[in-house]
Chain length 368, copies 2
Amino acid sequence: MEAVKVPRGLAGVSVADTRISKSSADGSLVYRGYPIADLAANASFEETAYLVLNGKLPTRGELDSFASGIARRSSLDRRVFDIMGALGGGAHPIDAIRTGVSALGSIDAEQSIQDKEASIESKMPVLAANCLRVPKGEPPRLPGKTGGFADRLLQMLTPREASEFDRWVFERVLIFYMEHDMNASSFTVRVVASTLADPYAAASAGLASLKGPLHGGANEAAMEMLLRAKDPENAGPFVEATFREGRKLMGFGHRVYKQFDPRARLCKEYLGEMTKKRGDDRIYRLCDAIEREMWEKKKIPPNLDYYAAPIFYLLGIEVPLYTPIFAASRVFGWMAHYNEQVEENKLIRPDSTYVGHAGRSYVPIEKR
Amino acid sequence: MEAVKVPRGLAGVSVADTRISKSSADGSLVYRGYPIADLAANASFEETAYLVLNGKLPTRGELDSFASGIARRSSLDRRVFDIMGALGGGAHPIDAIRTGVSALGSIDAEQSIQDKEASIESKMPVLAANCLRVPKGEPPRLPGKTGGFADRLLQMLTPREASEFDRWVFERVLIFYMEHDMNASSFTVRVVASTLADPYAAASAGLASLKGPLHGGANEAAMEMLLRAKDPENAGPFVEATFREGRKLMGFGHRVYKQFDPRARLCKEYLGEMTKKRGDDRIYRLCDAIEREMWEKKKIPPNLDYYAAPIFYLLGIEVPLYTPIFAASRVFGWMAHYNEQVEENKLIRPDSTYVGHAGRSYVPIEKR
């Protein structure tokens, strides 16, 4: 039986039916049928997470039980911090989180698949917030007792006190990072889930794929670029120099969105509001100016990472924590994909086309 | 643009051109063009590993440098043992190895991709041999200074002294486990590699997929079944009872090999020889009798796991270490796939078909 050949990288190849989310070239994104702008305007992080996981918005009782379950499971076994600490101060943040989640696979005492998932979802923000500090030997920041998922995460990420509006914006950005149909890490999660491995194994593999610069790290790279560009007045020369040197502008372009990324548009609005309230709109004007240059020259729109980065920056979050924040939110999408894969499972086991040598015979080493 | 639909689980879908290995329905398996029986008859583990990684048999100089590089890198940082120890005695062996490899991603000081790969390949047998002991708090067994890869691994796995023939057989089994074209874990490794994540990330994801019972654990399950069946004379009733109760016989069937698995055939010969030398051929006769019953009733041949398991058993290796042994050998195949993926990389990022709700609007929680 001849294997069916498909485009490299499985580009445009549908590997699964999904009910979780859908992004479209026209700039639309829905989670479980709800437009992202509708959720951003109205829903909390927990409501959205419940929706992504369960396919429907929760009743009050369901929401309370879901939110308190997440809060309750967020305390991390001391051994996990010890393990992260053993990695040493040079540890890459994603390595530290992946090692922590991998260790939880044996340290956690959860029994059911659902409880294991809830445990990972609850502990991921604690791992994310501590993935820089704890390997350096600094004491962990533990989750507070009050506030929702987003507030508790933000409090661990930075000691800076955030305004109500800033906290609202941070929660929106987390909602945007939660899910995005068949991206590289969600596919990795599904491949591992298809062996019927447990959720810790699947989540640790998702984190492994986030380690790669073609999937993770984009929001950090965007911020580093903005910091290099510095000044709104410098946008034109900066973009020109970048192209002249054959380098790429970070935070632009998307496999799906060719006109605009709906999440980036909303984040841009929020960023404008945040800078207005601060009485200093330089970073907003810088972002806007580079965006205009890029559109004029290449017709490529900014993506979520481009406008999430300066928001995190204004919130006072260290740049190497930006991708860990992504992971703390995306894990809900990963678990939704895990469940969908396992529900009607078939092992994901593709074929390959052998194009190598044939008919070779062993030659003794003296005669090679 | 409509996504191309392909069979579920990507069955029969060629996702890559490969020069590494090829298994065929007629019972043939080649590594880099060399038939598996030719390699089993003539090559050492290191020669075969060099071949799988580099596409050619090594000269004496290349082999010496490769083998000594592996031996030299096999010492494990104390912190990795500490991390495995922190998991506690109930840790699943594959969790322990995965956590160790994940931690190495930050603990190892190797710089080049090639050195990182060599480090993982060298340390995997140490992790495999200690994945049960160290979490229980027992002292690690360290690699010896003499002997090749297979001998050093076997010495760590069991204190029992092995005959020259037994050691030769163990090395053959490792050669058989090294590589098998696009299996579930090698595909996982390629998916992660395609994000340009480092080899530690990719190997830890490969281990994550080995945690799943649809990919890992088969040789352990086969041995447990043989121990339950016990007696050659019991083979007929045992097989009948298994079918009557709607359970599966472990160690049978293969996605590719429908007539016979060439590796199982060779292992069966070795097992016959081992039992003859021991003057007790009961386990050989048991395996043979169940194989015959299964072929008569279902026309399904045994696979490698079925005959590797009793070989490991006669060598005195604890059953939960059988899948770790697989990992210690397969990691060479994983790294070959990592290299092949990265050499002509394209991010593996498939599409999905959205079949969920459309056009939903947020409803306030009081009205749900």
